[in-house]
């Protein structure tokens, strides 16, 4: 569980940074930032249809409300890059694959952008602060979402919200442990490669879980946080907004798989599968309800454990992200 944390110290009013956290953004705005501005920024940060560009564009950089210093991070799932935008006296101290580096603006106007891979921890705040080891101390408090005052804001991919771990836990091996491999059946010959994921049947009925991830064949599982298009040579339709689609290419020597064959769309209630008018159709096996073929263009909510066969031995397994 990734989360933000901060040190709840009492500071003079001119030294208090405004610290903001949502599940997508972690940000620290300088002490000159007005509360009206913070209210606006919070609304934008909390609106799922708006992205980092909208949040950054909403920070006033001219006039009486101008914010001279800030550091904003757009955090992403494991394996994705983290984008930092810093201005004026704001900076980000970042641990990248275990090595420390500082992202500062160095006078770049209106701000400086850095995009880093393999970010496991970082802290946002004033240039004057010493970077430290970026790990939460015992007295630090978690910030799951909201706006607070403090000297700086930290973030770690593996913080347990409360109490703080002692010693800090090492990074979780995500691929092995964070997913349920709840395979309830197979699609015969084509799913043979999946049988190694078969687990003992649960002693009691499994609790319903929300589908949030998928795996193609024996590739690594992936969490779905934007629409996913799977096909032989997939492309996306027009997209407006910050969440660009994920495109997943599969091999199809006999061209059974259409160029863009299916869509997996995240919703608050789980994933919805749509056959994108594929030539050869889509075969779905849902736990407890047998095998069915999707009509061309048909949509279907899919639960964890569902297997989706799009042809040429390509099977997509729906998973729950724990």
């Amino acid at each position: 569980m990734a989360s933000a944390f901060y040190s709840p110290e009492s500071l003079a009013p001119g030294e208090e940074w405004r610290l903001l956290a949502t599940d997508r953004f972690v940000a620290a705005f300088g002490p000159d930032t007005g509360m009206h501005t913070m209210a606006t920024l919070w609304r934008i940060a909390a609106e799922p249809s708006l992205g980092l560009d909208a949040l950054v564009a909403a920070v006033p950089t001219r006039g009486p409300e101008a914010v001279q210093s800030f550091a904003i991070a757009a955090v992403a799932g494991a394996g994705r890059s983290t984008v930092f935008v810093v201005r004026g006296g704001g900076c980000a101290d970042v641990s990248v694959a275990g090595r420390m580096r500082r992202v500062d603006a160095r006078g770049a106007v209106p701000w400086y952008v850095a995009e880093l891979n393999e970010v496991d921890r970082f802290a946002l705040g004033p240039l004057e602060r010493s970077s430290g080891d970026l790990r939460p101390a015992d007295a630090d408090l978690p910030l799951d979402g909201g706006v607070v005052f403090g000297p700086w804001l930290g973030w770690a991919r593996d913080v347990v919200a409360s109490p703080p771990p002692r010693p800090p836990v090492p990074p979780a091996p995500v691929e092995q442990s964070a997913y349920d491999t709840n395979v309830l059946g197979d699609l015969g010959r084509r799913a043979a490669s999946l049988t190694r994921h078969r687990t003992e049947p649960p002693a009691t009925a499994p609790t319903p879980q929300t589908a949030t991830a998928f795996r193609v064949g024996d590739r690594a599982p992936e969490r779905v946080d934007a629409p996913v298009y799977v096909g032989r040579q997939p492309r996306s339709p027009r997209v407006t907004g910050p969440m660009l689609p994920r495109l997943v290419r599969v091999d199809s020597p006999s061209r059974e798989v259409s160029a863009t064959h299916i869509e997996l769309r995240p919703t608050p209630h789980g994933l919805v599968l749509t056959d994108l008018q594929s030539t050869n159709g889509t075969v779905v096996r849902q736990p407890g309800s047998g095998v069915r073929r999707l009509e061309s263009g048909e949509s279907l909510p899919v639960a964890p454990g569902t297997l989706i066969d799009i042809g040429d031995g390509n099977v997509i397994e729906i998973l729950a992200y724990r």
């Binding site: 980092l52 564009a57 950089t61 890059s81 984008v83 027009r238 689609p245 997943v248 290419r249």
Partner: protein, 262 residues
């Protein structure tokens, strides 16, 4: 007119993580046209970004606006590939630059921008096609020709609403009224399309000085002729001049010569 980058007859770009490579060729051409005094278009043609911007505004404002956009896009630091977030931020920075122009002597500066940026999904290469305004990206592959972008224009909205036909749109009196732009104190709202990088793919970004002079058939036939990217870019601009040249005309053309996968 500001231009960043030179034409290339063939440049091999390695994919990250030892995942093979792609080879692109690209060319660009521009002309002020027969009627205008100033060329307010700008372009960038340097991996990972290929884009055209068509500036709008009185005096030199349009020129400065299109310059701001290509400068910010050209400044995107990347080792061969960008994320779409970087494009959005570069456009937000350009908006800020244009607002600064606005605050001094110029009133109402803005620009369109459209183009394609090399990006990755997983380890596979894609073009993220982006658009704000009524410049366009066209796609040609193996005899298939299509307009990828959808104009942000009053006329396009009338077509979408069924009020006028596509053919009526070409001669509509509001044909130069756009509904989104970079600048004019608006937050940028680009649309995106993700297209796979495939051998033989040609992507053409152009200002409306091309698409308003040449019909789809003429553009398609010049793309289908198969001349090298730089020659095709020049031929497209020349054809637009010959059919009127009433506006600035700018094209950037990218060819995918080869895709080597692991």
């Amino acid at each position: 007119m500001t231009h960043i980058g030179q034409s290339s007859p063939g440049t091999r770009l390695p994919l990250p993580h030892g995942g093979g490579a792609i080879t692109l060729a690209w060319g660009a051409a521009t002309d002020v046209g027969h009627r205008r005094q100033v060329n307010e278009d700008s372009f960038v043609a340097a991996p990972p970004i290929f884009a055209v911007a068509d500036g709008m505004g009185g005096h030199a404002a349009g020129d400065l606006a299109s310059e701001a956009v290509v400068n910010r896009l050209g400044g995107v630091l990347a080792d061969g590939f960008v994320t779409p977030a970087a494009i959005g931020l570069a456009l937000a920075q350009a908006s800020h630059d244009i607002a600064q122009l606005d605050g001094t002597a110029l009133v109402g500066a803005g620009t369109t921008v459209t183009g394609m940026a090399l990006t990755l999904s997983g380890d596979d290469p894609y073009f993220a096609v982006f658009n704000v305004g009524d410049s366009r990206v066209y796609r040609y592959l193996e005899g298939e020709f299509e307009q990828v972008t959808v104009d942000h224009s009053v006329v396009q909205e009338l077509v979408d609403a069924g009020a006028i036909t596509r053919r009526q749109a070409d001669n509509h009196p509001d044909s130069n009224v756009i509904t989104r732009a970079i600048g004019f104190n608006e937050p940028p709202m680009p649309d995106y399309w993700m297209l796979p990088v495939e051998p033989g793919l040609r992507l053409l970004a152009c200002s409306d000085g091309l698409s308003k002079e040449l019909g789809d058939e003429q553009i398609e036939s010049l793309l289908a002729a198969g001349a090298p990217a730089a020659d095709t870019a020049s031929a497209l601009v020349q054809a637009a001049l010959e059919s009127g040249g009433r506006d600035n005309v700018t094209v950037v053309l990218v060819d995918v010569l080869a895709v080597e996968t692991r």
